[in-house]
């Protein structure tokens, strides 16, 4: 190429090409994500927190196009604030997930982002919802993003019903670590959010503190 086209990351779309996971336990949920944002082959942000709050006890995990995902999260955050004032109490997780799903479905041709919504509410305790492509489904756990393909086998094998909070956190961290090792678009640090009746706890696990496996 003889023409000056400038660095490729200026013309490539910014994707969060990522690994995200959310899992429900008796009493709450744990969400996890990696921290890499890529534009083509360049990493434009290596410490982005993809776990975005929609309300005090409802978070969503972003994947796909960074702009689309952030916009959806901000719109739903606004709508939920209005909604919770109207009903006079904290919103249900299902309401948040439905709002995300409505936007994803209505604009499904224009948008390319997948959000996993998870949180705690008084009525149904911890819940995880997947909203891929405009569907809405409640699941015991959900994985998403480009790195998720590599860990389907691992989560299928390792997930058991009735895990405790600590076991869930360990499960999420192991899954993220495995996916980050294999997916070029996932990496950096691991962000964890644990939501239950009493608190919402955010945690960062740095790269060298992540679990390692036999070939490392």
């Amino acid at each position: 190429m003889l023409e000056e086209t400038g660095p490729e990351w200026l013309s490539e779309e910014v994707k969060t090409g990522t690994t995200i996971i959310a899992i429900e336990y008796n009493g709450g949920v744990v969400l996890g994500s990696d921290s890499r944002v890529s534009a083509g082959a360049s990493v434009v942000n290596r410490v982005m927190n993809k776990l975005s709050p929609l309300h005090d006890k409802i978070y969503c995990a972003l994947s796909g196009s960074a702009a689309d995902a952030q916009t959806i999260a901000e719109m739903v955050n606004y709508h939920l604030d209005v909604h919770s004032i109207e009903i006079g109490e904290d919103p249900q997780v299902r309401s948040a997930a439905t709002l995300v799903r409505n936007i994803s479905y209505k604009y499904k041709e224009e948008l390319s982002a997948h959000l996993i919504v998870a949180g705690w509410d008084r009525r149904n305790k911890g819940q995880v919802f997947a909203t891929l492509n405009g569907l809405l489904t409640r699941q015991p756990f959900a994985v998403g993003g480009s790195g998720s393909s590599y860990v389907y086998g691992f989560v299928d094998a390792e997930y058991r019903k009735g895990m405790s909070k600590e076991e869930c956190q360990q499960f999420v961290v192991s899954t993220l670590s495995l996916a980050m090792n294999r997916d070029g678009s996932s990496g950096g640090v691991a962000y964890l959010v644990t939501i239950d009746e009493h608190s919402t706890e955010e945690k960062v696990i740095l790269g060298n503190d992540l679990p390692t496996f036999f070939d490392q």
Binding site: G17, G64, S112, H114, N133, S146, S149, Y150, V151, Y152, G153, F154, V155, D156, A157, E158, Y159, R160, K161, S174, T175, L178, A179, N181, R182, F213, F214, D215
Partner: protein, 217 residues
């Protein structure tokens, strides 16, 4: 949601498959699923055997275009038996892998086939080699291939331990194949497993209903 490169880009009958091989203390396990499909829409065979014996203690698994893989293996078998007659000794596993590699590399423009070669020889014991699409040859303690392998990278990284016992390794391979077949629509059928040690070769076939089940089944 990026499109991932899968075997569905292969024309004709593709093995859209899951293959794996792993070394344990004293031998190797090599295995595959048994589904062959056309374009990912029609299952042309439910019981195809993708684990081919190229010599007494050396087996190969094929991935990619079935026709290309069969042709390459047939040629490799011939070269290998000729080589072992000339050398007056059973061939080394690396020789088998190198023969496949030469064929894949020299004909890389026409062929679309990859292989996993596993076996036992007197010089280095149990070994696993991977010959990829363009003709790269590397040795690894455990390796997976085919379209279904994407889904079990995490599982294999987490669960494989060097120097496992024979039973542990068989269980590991069985689980890995079952998980991949559960997620990949172009892998399925039965699990073919071959255990190769100094003393002999053992075939294990696990029918679909005897495969390990996981939490959502």
């Amino acid at each position: 949601m990026e499109k991932r490169c899968t075997d569905s880009q292969v024309k004709g009958v593709s093995t859209g498959t899951t293959i794996l091989a792993a070394t344990f203390d004293g031998g190797v396990v090599i295995g595959s699923d048994s589904r062959a499909s056309i374009g990912g829409e029609y299952v042309s065979s439910k019981t195809i055997n993708k684990v081919i014996q190229v010599h007494d203690r050396i087996f190969c698994c094929m991935a990619g275009s079935l026709a290309d893989a069969q042709a390459v293996i047939k040629t490799a078998k011939f070269h290998l038996s000729f080589h072992s007659v000339q050398m007056e000794t059973p061939p080394l596993v690396i020789s088998a892998a190198s023969v496949l590699k030469e064929l894949c590399y020299k004909n890389k423009d026409e062929l679309q086939a990859g292989f996993i070669t596993a076996g036992w020889d007197r010089k280095k014991g149990p070994q696993v080699y991977v010959v990829s699409l363009g003709g790269m040859l590397i040795s690894q303690p455990v390796t997976i291939g085919g379209s279904g392998s994407t889904y079990i990278y995490g599982y294999v990284d987490a669960k494989y331990k060097p120097n496992m016992s024979r039973e542990e390794c068989l269980q590991f391979a069985n689980n890995a194949l079952a998980l991949a077949m559960g997620r990949d629509n172009v892998s399925g059928g039965v699990a073919h497993l071959v255990v190769i040690t100094e003393t002999g070769v053992e075939h294990v076939v696990v029918p679909g209903d005897k495969l390990p089940k996981f939490h959502d089944e």
